[in-house]
Subunit: 280 residues, 2 copies
């Protein structure tokens, strides 16, 4: 197929690389250096000098933009695209986006809202790597407008990229579970770094558990502040659940309640081990 | 040197393997299968049938026991050991242990309290692997009784195992910083699993950030409940700090305060990136 990528950063570059073998990949980025890098490193077949040129050529367009840039992109540019064009969103939140963007769409174009649950704590095309998708989870959030033909197409492309599991969720279910598995984990890593006792040189007293746990604190701030705010109600709820969970441990430790502590630990361990077995 | 290991599990087995090339390693474990495994897989030179036999041969004894087993071990067995024997503790907490164990020690033996900050979310000698120590941090918590000769010896052995940084801390400083970098991370991973929304099959909606963050929830419950309870005051303090950190994020998100949010994120990111650069 003729695939267009708008925004050639870490995600756009990785998607381009992952799809380039089976498809023809065009890309547009407002930064010409990123396009040149994509060409030089064989991540894309062709660099489009502007959006009009990309719109002429591509049937499928991956919008690899920050969530708050999707609405203005559609407003300003959808007139350039051919009838039948399928836009694919890859943002980490959905309720706000689906509500705001679907009413903007021309009748003769479609947008499929998806979430490739994969990434890196890095910014920019220099870190693009199709390996980040292998064996991972992909979520599609269908809207009433989406045809099954288009959904199948997008699912097929996710499989081409190497994703193992493709699931379908409503916007609310997506944002609730992702608030937990993704946004909360980032808030947590940041809050943990923030609460570090400042009087010690941390680096001398950490092990792999701490490094793994705080890796995602090396965050793309402009992107993630949007994701946090876009998913505000569910994320606040998940922060509250986690605080309750921490308070349960605090109480059991304070009361020296070994029975309760061991019981909670065994349940959490069991839940995590189940995930391990089934995911990998 | 003639090195004895008491308790041939994940840590004892890994220490044995790491020291075996330069030293002679004897081991005792109450489970004969573990000793046989150690012999079969060339992790140790010799299996001692009982503690008396180990005591006869070894100059240095690594006590690879759960923290609450150290005191009874010393009480029951120190009479068997030669004058001048140096015991090395490897537990993850120190205040309680130093307070309780030092008064029990015979005048003519010494104990060095240390913390190799390395491990695996696995139990038993079958997972022993000297690679877990390479490039990691080691902490020594000296007592007034320790001679500089003995401290140098133990630091040298840590270097032989592959540890990169060896630091010296007081029992209180150790327990405060380790409550943060180690015990809190484990409580956090457990509390996070505990707060998972139960209505979704988690495995379909997680990415590497969630997997990394919760890896340590696959915990050795009997060991870690001791560590949590042994380090109660500092751990409770660190849980409180983390809850405050989460509440700060909750508030900024609730108030849609982008300026505050971005400022907090950038500070946490900076702290984490500093650690990255200096550790690896």
């Amino acid at each position: 197929m003729q695939i267009g990528i708008v925004g050639l950063g870490l995600m756009g570059g990785s998607i381009a690389q992952a799809l380039k073998e089976k498809h023809t990949v065009f890309a547009y980025d407002r930064n010409p250096d990123s396009l040149q890098y994509g060409l030089d490193h064989q991540l894309i077949h062709e660099a489009a000098p502007d959006i009009a040129r990309l719109a002429e050529k591509a049937e499928i367009i991956y919008l690899c933009l920050y969530p708050e840039a999707i609405d203005p992109f559609i407003k300003s540019n959808q007139k350039l695209f051919r009838s039948g064009t399928v836009f694919i969103d890859i943002s980490g939140t959905k309720v706000r986006l689906v509500n705001d963007v679907v009413p903007l769409l021309r009748d003769d174009v479609d947008m499929i809202f998806t979430h490739p649950i994969a990434g890196k704590e890095k910014i920019g095309i220099r870190y693009a790597d199709k390996q980040i998708f292998i064996g991972q989870n992909y979520v599609i959030v269908p809207t009433p407008k989406n045809t099954s033909q288009h959904l199948d197409l997008v699912e097929g492309l996710a499989r081409d990229m190497g994703f193992k599991t493709v699931s379908y969720l409503s916007p609310d279910d997506h944002d609730e579970i992702i608030a937990f598995t993704s946004q909360l984990c980032h808030v947590l890593a940041l809050a943990l770094m923030d609460s570090a006792p400042r009087k010690y040189p941390l680096k001398k007293y950490v092990g792999d558990s701490f490094r793994d746990l705080t890796r995602v604190a090396m965050i793309n701030t402009p992107l993630w502040q949007e994701l946090f705010l876009d998913n505000k109600p569910y994320l606040m709820e998940q922060i509250d659940h986690l605080i309750s969970g921490l308070e349960k441990y605090r109480k059991a430790i304070k009361n020296h309640d070994r029975v309760k502590l061991v019981d909670m630990m065994e349940k959490a361990k069991h839940l995590r081990m189940q995930m391990e077995k089934e995911v990998t």
